[in-house]
C-alpha cells in the first residue's frame, strides 16, 4: 500500500506527532527526493542546482576579472581566457538565470499562490528537472571533450571551426531548452485550470502574471533555439551550407535565428524578477499594488514586444537600413511597459508603511539598478549611439545591470522573502543586510566602471587591452571581489539559518499574499483543505488598525474558517 502524501493513515504511528506535517517531513530518504512528484521538492532541487551553477559561473567571473587586472597575461593564456568567458556566459544564461526564478521559486510558489495541490503535470515537472540535469551535464561535458571558446552566442562561422566541444555545449543547451518548454507548458496549464475557488484573473498574484507571460515566451521562443542549434550541429557535422558563406550559406542568418530566441530569452530572465518585486514591494509597503491591471498587462506587453526586437543585436552586422530603422523604433517601445512598471512601483510606495527588511532592500536595489539598465538601453536603441557602443563594455555593463541588477537581485529578493516559508527557518537579518551592502556596492563598482570603458571604446571579449584602459579595468575587478565577498557572507548566512535558524512563523512579514496563508513549511498538499479565496492577494485595505502596522494575521479570512 502506498502512502498518499498528506493523508494520515489511521492506526499507523505518525512520526510527525511533535511537529506539524509538512512537505519536508512527510517522507524521508534520498529516494523520496529523487522520485518526488511534489512541486515543492522539485523546486528545492532546482534551487540547489541553480545555486551550484551560479557558484561555478561566479568563479569563472572572478577568474576573468583577475586576468583583466593588467594588460597582457596576468594569470592565464588567451585561449584559456576565451574559454573562461564562454563558460561564464553559457552557464550563467542557460544553467542559472533562465531557470533560476521560474523553475526554482516559481515551481515552489506558483501552485501555492494558486491554492492548487500541485502543478497540472507533476510527472512532466520531474522530467523537466532531469532534462535540466542532463542538459547541464552535457554542456559542462564540453570542458572535458575539448576547448569551448565560441562565446555563449555560438556565432558562425567561428563555431563551425574547431573541435567538437561546441557540439556538446549546443547539445546541452538544446536539452535545457526542452526542460524550459516543459516548465512553461506546466505553468500555463496550471494557471488556467487549477486556480482555487475565488482566485479570478483579476485576483491573480502578479508573480503568477509574470510567470505566465514568461511561460508563453518559453513555449513559443525556445523551439526556435532548438531549431537553430540543431541546424548548427547539422552544419558542423555534415557541412550543408546554411550558415557557411563558402557553401552559399549566410552567417548573418545564424545571428537572426539565434537572437530570435535569445532576445525573448532576455524577457524570460527579467519578467520573473519583476514578478518577485511586485510581491515584495506590496508586502513591505503594506499597500495594494498601484495600477494592478497596468502592471499585469505590461508583463504581457513585454512578452509580445520581446519577439519583435531581435534585430537590435544586428545594427552593425550589415542588415538593411530599413530593417534597422524598424527594429530601432520597436526597441524604443520596450521602454514603455518597463517604465509603467517602475512608475507603478513608485506609486505603490507612496503613502505606504515601508519596512526595509532584507527582501525589500533587494527589491529597492532592483528598481534602482534596473532603472540604470533600462536607461542605458535607450542609448543602445538609439541607432547612431549603438554603432559606437555595440560590442563594447558598455553593452556588457548594460546587460549585467539588467540581468544581475535586475534578475539576480529579484531572485535574491525572492529567496530572502520566501526562505522562511520554504525552510521553516529564519535567517540573521543583520548579516543579511551586511551581505546586501557588499553585493550592492560591489556590483555597482564592477559594472559602472564598465560603462565608461565601453563609451571610451574598449571592445568586449578582449584578453589584452591598451594601457589607457587599465585604471577602469582595475576598478571593475576590485568591485568583483567585493561582490564575491558579499555572496560568501550571504551563503554562510543561509547555511547557518538552515542548521541553526530560529523557527519561522506562518507569516513572518505580515503579507496578504495567498502563499502565506498555509503552514510553514507548507503542508505536502499546500493547503490542508482547498482554500476559498474571499479577497485579493494585496487587499491591505481590509486590514484592521493593528494589522496595518503588525501585518496581516496568518489565519485565513473568516469566510474560510467555517
Amino acid at each position: 500500500m502506498t502512502v498518499k502524501a498528506g493523508v494520515a493513515i489511521p492506526g499507523t504511528p505518525s512520526e510527525t506527532t511533535d511537529e506539524e506535517l509538512n512537505y519536508l517531513n512527510n517522507k524521508t530518504g534520498i529516494k523520496s527526493w529523487l522520485l518526488t512528484l511534489d512541486h515543492k521538492r522539485i523546486g528545492v532541487m532546482y534551487l540547489w542546482s541553480v545555486l551550484i551553477a551560479f557558484l561555478i559561473g561566479g568563479v569563472f567571473a572572478l577568474l576573468i576579472r583577475t586576468e583583466l587586472l593588467t594588460p597582457g597575461k596576468t594569470i592565464m593564456e588567451a585561449d584559456t581566457y576565451n574559454e573562461m568567458f564562454t563558460l561564464h556566459g553559457t552557464i550563467m544564461v542557460f544553467l542559472f538565470i533562465i531557470p533560476a526564478i521560474p523553475a526554482a521559486l516559481g515551481n515552489f510558489f506558483l501552485p501555492i499562490q494558486l491554492g492548487a495541490k500541485d502543478v497540472a503535470f507533476p510527472r512532466l515537472n520531474l522530467l523537466s528537472y532531469y532534462l535540466y540535469v542532463l542538459g547541464s551535464l552535457v554542456a559542462i561535458g564540453s570542458i572535458i571533450v575539448g576547448h569551448i571558446d565560441t562565446g555563449w552566442t555560438f556565432y558562425t562561422p567561428y563555431s563551425l571551426e574547431g573541435n567538437s566541444s561546441v557540439l556538446f555545449m549546443t547539445g546541452g543547451a538544446f536539452i535545457l531548452g526542452f526542460s524550459s518548454i516543459l516548465t512553461g507548458v506546466n505553468f500555463i496549464a496550471t494557471t488556467h485550470k487549477m486556480r482555487a475557488p475565488g482566485i479570478t484573473w483579476r485576483r491573480l498574484p502578479l508573480f503568477i502574471w509574470s510567470l505566465y507571460a514568461t511561460a508563453v515566451i518559453q513555449v513559443l521562443a525556445t523551439p526556435v533555439l532548438a531549431i537553430t542549434l540543431l541546424l548548427l550541429i547539422l552544419e558542423k557535422t555534415m557541412t550543408i551550407g546554411i550558415f557557411d558563406s563558402r557553401l552559399g550559406g549566410d552567417p548573418v542568418l545564424f545571428e537572426h535565428f539565434f537572437w530570435f530566441y535569445s532576445h525573448p530569452a532576455v524577457y524570460i530572465m527579467i519578467l520573473p524578477g519583476m514578478g518577485v518585486v511586485n510581491e515584495v514591494i506590496t508586502t513591505f509597503s503594506h499597500r495594494r499594488i498601484y495600477g494592478y491591471m497596468f502592471v499585469a498587462m505590461s508583463s504581457v506587453a513585454l512578452a509580445i514586444l520581446s519577439f519583435l526586437v531581435w534585430g537590435h543585436h544586428l545594427f552593425a552586422a550589415g542588415m538593411s537600413a530599413y530593417a534597422t530603422m524598424v527594429f530601432s523604433m520597436l526597441t524604443f517601445l520596450v521602454a514603455i511597459p518597463s517604465g509603467i512598471k517602475i512608475f507603478n512601483w513608485l506609486a505603490t510606495l507612496y503613502q505606504g508603511s515601508i519596512s526595509l527588511a532584507s527582501p525589500m532592500l533587494y527589491t529597492l536595489g532592483f528598481i534602482a539598478l534596473f532603472t540604470i539598465g533600462g536607461l542605458t538601453g535607450v542609448f543602445l536603441g538609439t541607432l547612431a549611439l549603438d554603432i559606437h557602443l555595440h560590442d563594447t563594455y558598455f553593452v556588457v555593463a548594460h546587460f549585467h545591470y539588467v540581468m544581475v541588477g535586475g534578475t539576480v537581485f529579484g531572485f535574491l529578493s525572492g529567496l530572502h522573502y520566501w526562505w522562511p516559508k520554504m525552510t521553516g527557518k529564519m535567517y540573521n537579518e543583520t548579516v543579511a543586510r551586511i551581505a546586501f551592502g557588499f553585493v550592492f556596492i560591489g556590483f555597482n563598482v564592477t559594472f559602472f566602471s564598465q560603462f565608461l570603458l565601453g563609451s571610451q571604446g574598449m571592445p568586449r571579449r578582449y584578453y589584452d587591452y591598451l594601457d589607457q584602459y587599465q585604471p577602469l579595468h582595475m576598478t571593475s575587478s576590485g568591485g568583483a571581489y567585493i561582490l564575491g565577498v558579499g555572496f560568501v557572507i550571504m551563503g554562510a548566512m543561509f547555511l547557518h539559518s538552515l542548521f541553526k535558524g530560529k523557527k519561522a512563523s506562518e507569516n513572518p512579514w505580515g503579507s496578504a499574499g495567498y502563499e502565506w496563508m498555509t503552514s510553514t513549511p507548507p503542508h505536502p498538499e499546500n493547503f490542508a483543505e482547498t482554500p476559498v479565496m474571499t479577497r485579493g492577494p494585496y487587499d491591505y485595505e481590509l486590514c484592521t488598525e493593528a494589522e496595518l502596522y503588525e501585518g496581516f494575521r496568518s489565519e485565513l479570512p473568516a469566510a474560510l474558517a467555517e
Partner: protein, 345 residues
C-alpha cells in the same frame, strides 16, 4: 547633409574618446542628450523612491493608505515617455544614415579582415597590413569584407563600426577634419576588432599584436593629401624608427614581420615549432616541398611565397593555409632583406 546639433570636444571627455571624424560631434551631442535625460530620469525615480522610503517608513502609528486608481495618470506616464523616445529614435536614425551613406566623391579603401589582421587596399592596388596611410579632409569609404570568420571594423574615435561578414560587403565612411593635424606630420587613429574572432589554441604570446581577437588592431595614419598622393606613387616609406640604421631594409622588414602578422606562424629563433617554417637560416637553404620537388630559398622564392603562398608548400606544413599578402615591391624587398639578415647557409 547632417544638420543635427554638435557637441565639440576634440580631445574627448570623461565618457568619450577624442573626436576624429566630422560625424563624432553630432554623435556626441546625441550621446550627451540621452545621458542628461537619463540622469534626470534616474534622479527623479530614485529620488522619489528615497523620499517615500523616509517619509513613509514603518513606525508605530503609521498607516498605509488604500491604493487609489488614476487612469489619466497611467496614460500620462505611458504617452509622455513615448513621445520623448520617438524623438530620440528620429535623431538616432538620422545620424546613423549619415554614417552609412557615403558622399559620391569619397575615396574608396578596401578593408579585408582575416584572423587576426586587417589588410587595406588603396585605389591603385597598394596594400598595407594592420596600418594604412590615409588623407585628412577627404571623405573615406571603407569597403569591408572578411576572408574567414566574423570581425568588426571599429574606429572608436570616429564613433563607427561595421561587421566584416564572410560573403558580404559592408561599408562605412568618415572624414577626419584637417584641423585635427594641428601642425603635426600625421595623426594616428586606432582600429579595433569588435566582433569576437577567437585565438589559436595553445598560444603563449596573446598580448603580442595581431595574434588573437584582442590584439587584432590596426593604426590609421592620417596625413595631408599631398603626402598621401606621394605615398600612392612610391608605396609606403620606411618607418621613421629605421632611419639612420645601418641596414634600413632589414629593419623595415622586421617591422613588417611584426605588423603584418607573419609572427603568428613564423618564428625566427631556429627552434620553436610553429604552423609555418622557421625563418632563421632559411635564406640560401634548400627547401623540400610537399610534391617532392625542392628549390634553394632565394629572393624570387620568398617573393612568390608572399604573393602566392599556395604555389609551393614546404613539406610538413599543411595544417594552415597562408593567405596571399599583397605587399608593395619595396616592402617585399625589405622582408627579403630581413630574412637574409637572419643568416644564410
Amino acid at each position: 547633409m547632417n544638420d543635427t546639433p554638435v557637441f565639440n570636444a576634440p580631445n574627448g571627455t570623461l565618457q568619450l574618446p577624442p573626436q576624429m571624424s566630422t560625424l563624432a560631434p553630432h554623435v556626441d551631442w546625441l550621446y550627451y542628450l540621452v545621458f542628461w535625460c537619463s540622469v534626470a530620469s534616474f534622479v527623479a525615480i530614485v529620488g522619489l523612491m528615497t523620499i517615500y522610503i523616509i517619509k513613509y517608513r514603518r513606525r508605530p502609528g503609521r498607516k498605509s493608505l488604500p491604493t487609489g486608481h488614476n487612469t489619466p495618470l497611467e496614460i500620462a506616464w505611458t504617452v509622455i515617455p513615448l513621445i520623448l523616445l520617438m524623438g530620440l529614435f528620429h535623431l538616432g536614425f538620422k545620424n546613423y544614415m549619415s554614417g552609412l551613406v557615403a558622399p559620391k566623391d569619397a575615396l574608396q579603401i578596401h578593408v579585408r579582415a582575416m584572423q587576426w589582421n586587417w589588410e587595406f587596399e588603396h585605389p591603385n592596388g597598394t596594400t598595407q597590413m594592420n596600418e594604412a596611410m590615409l588623407p585628412v579632409g577627404v571623405p573615406i569609404q571603407f569597403i569591408i569584407s572578411s576572408s574567414d570568420v566574423l570581425h568588426s571594423f571599429y574606429v572608436p574615435e570616429a564613433r563607427l563600426k561595421r561587421d566584416a561578414v564572410p560573403g558580404l560587403y559592408t561599408t562605412l565612411w568618415f572624414e577626419v577634419p584637417k584641423e585635427r593635424l594641428q601642425g603635426k606630420k600625421d595623426v594616428d587613429v586606432w582600429v579595433f576588432c569588435a566582433e569576437y574572432c577567437g585565438a589559436p589554441h595553445g598560444i603563449t604570446n596573446g598580448s603580442e599584436a595581431n595574434t588573437n581577437h584582442s590584439t587584432m588592431r590596426a593604426q590609421l595614419h592620417f596625413v595631408p593629401q599631398s603626402v598621401y598622393d606621394d605615398f600612392l606613387k612610391k608605396g609606403p616609406p620606411p618607418p621613421p624608427e629605421c632611419e639612420g640604421k645601418p641596414n634600413v631594409a632589414s629593419c623595415w622588414g622586421e617591422q613588417i614581420y611584426e605588423q603584418a602578422g607573419c609572427r603568428a606562424c613564423h618564428h625566427t629563433d631556429g627552434v620553436t615549432e610553429q604552423p609555418g617554417p622557421n625563418w632563421k637560416g632559411l635564406f640560401g637553404h634548400n627547401v623540400k616541398f610537399e610534391d617532392g620537388t625542392s628549390q634553394v630559398a632565394d629572393a624570387n622564392y620568398i617573393r612568390q611565397s608572399i604573393l602566392q603562398p599556395q604555389a609551393k608548400i614546404v613539406a610538413g606544413y599543411t595544417t594552415i593555409n597562408m593567405p596571399p599578402y599583397r605587399l608593395s615591391d619595396r616592402e617585399i624587398d625589405a622582408v627579403v632583406a630581413y630574412i637574409k639578415s637572419l643568416g644564410e647557409q
